[in-house]
Amino acid sequence: MTRVHAASPEATVLTGRRILVVEDEMVISMFIEDVLVGLGCQVVGPAGRMQRALALVEGNGIDAAVLDINLGRDGDSYPIADALISRGVPFVFSTGYGHQGVLPAYRDIPCLTKPFAEKALAQALAALFAAS
């Protein structure tokens, strides 16, 4: 199976970056990890629980993150979003709800709707670094 090509423009930007993956569904996080690995990224985590994710953020070892909004029993992941924002770490939301399900205060964070194509994920992450 070919993912996003290692020579693609996204891969150029993303190679070597440390990306935190926060996702409570194991199977889905595997997919995300595969995409990131294919792009040459270093996967931090994945973290499925609030506490673990916050600890990884505080560890300061990340360049960007893919953040699932709904963490099941742990509730919404906005505290993690706040932690990332306060550290100036760029990230994208991953959600099944769609853009209107995001709290108004967080609406300008890029949002990917599950299931999303690999290309979409790659472009969204690359754009985070292009902006900075």
Binding site: G96, T113, P115, A117
Partner: protein, 604 residues
């Protein structure tokens, strides 16, 4: 004229002896007689009545000066039967007859008649005369007087007229009137009361209540006797019983008993006023019974309910209202039910309520009401006008139905749908992931892309359904949603979607969405969307009871039918047809693929 000393022959012949003394005495006597005569003349002349005398045969022999003064006729003219000229022509004959009768039978003469005055007008007079017997007992003369009674007569006429009027008013009054004496016997009764009693008026007079109205006596006697005894009036007394007018039927009157007193203050009679209220009582009772039934019913319905006057102010609340708000019966009027509206809603609810009341239109609104525990619950509230006489609003009837559970259920449902959507999307993402893991290194990329494409199509269709709350989806929106991902950027004109507004139910919507994905994928790979020149038209119409949709590709490379029917074809020709309950035709026309769908029009 007594005391005259008789002048005898002897005394006249006795010259020298006492003639001087006798003359003096005689002169004194004459003088005295003259004075007496003058006095008598004056009495006659200046008497305000006309004094007259007649002889045995009825001829007038003397008329006092008053006569000519009053009548303007000469004294001599009035003598004899000249007086015939003086009475009013209509009164003459009766006078003559009366006079003749009196003369004949020596009866006092007494008659009222009109007399013609000097100026030609007439005044009423009373003429009387008594017979006078002479020393031998024979009727010698008649002595009479004529007295002016005109003023008296007019007053009498006025009084009589007034009395007649009063009597007419009394007799014809639409209310029953009567007067009873102290023994409760009828002195007087008017037509209305006689009619209500069922006997002629005359049959009452002099008889007692018990004699005439045995069916009422028990009710009335005691009270009437009390009025006589105490002298206090009674008003608004209800008397129920039967009268001969309607035997066997109990009727009801509202009566007043007013004592009438004589000069010494003793009660000598009772003035009775009686108004029949039988009908009115029946109506009032029927109304009360109806209202009682209504209240019983209103107390039993599960809603909180109230009744208000035509201006919207409530005057009655049902048991449930009182139970919910904790108010005792009859108290919420002071506060008004609106004081229970949740503060945030109070203003606009009140405003809308007042508007509808003023416009005489039914009112409906949903808002929270505060209960006795201080908590609020949601109520669907309504008010309906109830029309009275002449189609005007008499009352408003209001209800509040507790919809708290329903509202909570709705909110819960919203939440569930939201959750459901999230679950489904996550599941699709898991499918995507699993498929990716499974196919890693085991198949060509385009196979993987096909599968992923189908998963995305499912996901997009699912989004559309969620946005319509899983109730219905517009066909136009569905087509656009299904085809958007397949449009190359900057080429909007290559796709034309046209058709009337049409609502699809979730199941057929999903099936159609997948079919369009397959058609579009195929067009992109091999058909009209694979070249810049090609274009696709998706159009539909509703004809009769059928929805007809056509997918038409043009301007693409020549089409040849595939050797093997792929999943897409199967999906369309069999799956979709079954889902839509209609037919699907896939035509690999050389100029471009055409797909015709036909399904029964199911209005949602």
């Amino acid at each position: 004229m007594t005391g005259i000393t008789a002048v005898t022959e002897d005394s006249l012949n006795d010259d020298r002896l006492g003639s001087d003394a006798t003359l003096a005495a005689a002169e004194r006597e004459v003088a005295r007689l003259r004075a007496e005569l003058d006095e008598t003349r004056n009495l006659v002349r200046f008497n305000p009545q006309i004094l007259w005398a007649a002889d045995r045969s009825g001829r007038i022999t003397f008329v006092s000066e008053r006569g000519p003064e009053v009548t303007g006729m000469g004294a001599r003219e009035l003598l004899g039967f000249g007086w015939y000229l003086t009475p009013h022509p209509d009164d003459l004959r009766p006078m003559q007859r009366a006079w003749a009768r009196s003369l004949r039978e020596s009866l006092p003469f007494d008659i009222q008649h009109r007399l013609r005055l000097r100026d030609g007008t007439y005044r009423w007079m009373r003429s009387r005369a008594l017979p006078h017997r002479d020393a031998m007992g024979r009727r010698a003369a008649w002595f009479g007087c004529t007295e002016d009674i005109d003023d008296l007569k007019r007053a009498e006429a006025d009084a009589y007229r007034a009395l007649s009027e009063l009597r007419a008013v009394y007799d014809t009054a639409p209310i029953g009137l009567c007067v009873l004496d102290a023994d409760l016997r009828w002195l007087r009764i008017n037509n209305r009361l006689a009619e209500m009693n069922g006997l002629p008026a005359e049959a009452h007079i002099g008889r007692t209540i018990r004699e005439v109205l045995p069916g009422l006596a028990d009710a009335a006697e005691g009270l009437l006797r009390q009025v006589v005894a105490t002298g206090d009036a009674m008003h608004g007394i209800e008397v129920a019983g039967q009268t001969p007018a309607q035997p066997g039927v109990t009727r009801i009157w509202e009566e007043s008993f007013i004592p009438l007193r004589d000069e010494s203050g003793r009660v000598i009679a009772i003035n009775v006023v009686a108004e029949e209220v039988t009908q009115r009582r029946h109506v009032v009772e029927a109304l009360a019974a109806s209202e009682a039934r209504f209240r019983a019913m209103a107390d039993n319905i599960p809603q909180l309910a109230w009744m208000a006057r035509s201006d919207g102010t409530p005057f009655w609340f049902n048991g449930r209202w009182n139970a919910y708000t904790g108010h005792a019966v009859g108290t919420t009027q002071e506060h008004g039910w609106r004081s229970h509206i949740h503060p945030e809603h109070a203003d606009h609810v009140s405003q809308r309520f007042e508007e509808q009341i003023a416009a005489c239109k039914p009112w409906e609104d949903t808002f929270p009401l505060r209960g006795s525990d201080g908590e609020h619950r949601w109520f669907l509230s309504r008010a309906e006008p109830i029309l009275g006489q002449r189609g005007r609003i008499a009352l408003w009837f209001g209800t509040h139905t507790d919809v708290t559970e329903r509202k909570a259920a709705e909110q819960h449902r919203e939440l569930l749908i939201h959750e459901l959507n999230h679950r489904v999307k996550n599941t699709l993402a898991m499918v995507q992931s699993v498929a990716a893991q499974t196919l890693r290194g085991r198949c060509d990329d385009d196979v993987w892309q096909d599968l992923q494409g189908r998963i995305f199509a499912l996901s997009a269709a699912h989004d559309l359904l969620t946005s319509g709350h899983w109730e219905a989806v517009g066909l136009g929106d569905l087509a656009r949603q299904a085809l958007r991902p397949h449009m190359l950027p900057g080429t909007p004109s290559r796709l034309l979607i046209s058709g009337p507004e049409y609502s699809l139910e979730p199941k057929p919507a999903l099936a159609l969405s997948m079919a369009l994905h397959e058609l579009a994928t195929n067009a992109l790979k091999y058909g009209a969307l694979s070249t810049a020149a090609g274009s696709v038209t998706v159009s539909w119409v509703v004809e009769g009871d059928e929805l007809r949709l056509i997918w038409r590709e043009t301007g693409g490379p020549p089409v040849s039918p595939p050797q093997r029917r792929g999943f897409g074809s199967r999906l369309i020709e069999r799956g979709l047809a079954a889902e839509l309950g209609g037919t699907a035709e896939l035509d690999f026309h050389p100029d471009g693929v055409v797909c015709r769908l036909c399904m029964k029009h199911n209005p949602t």
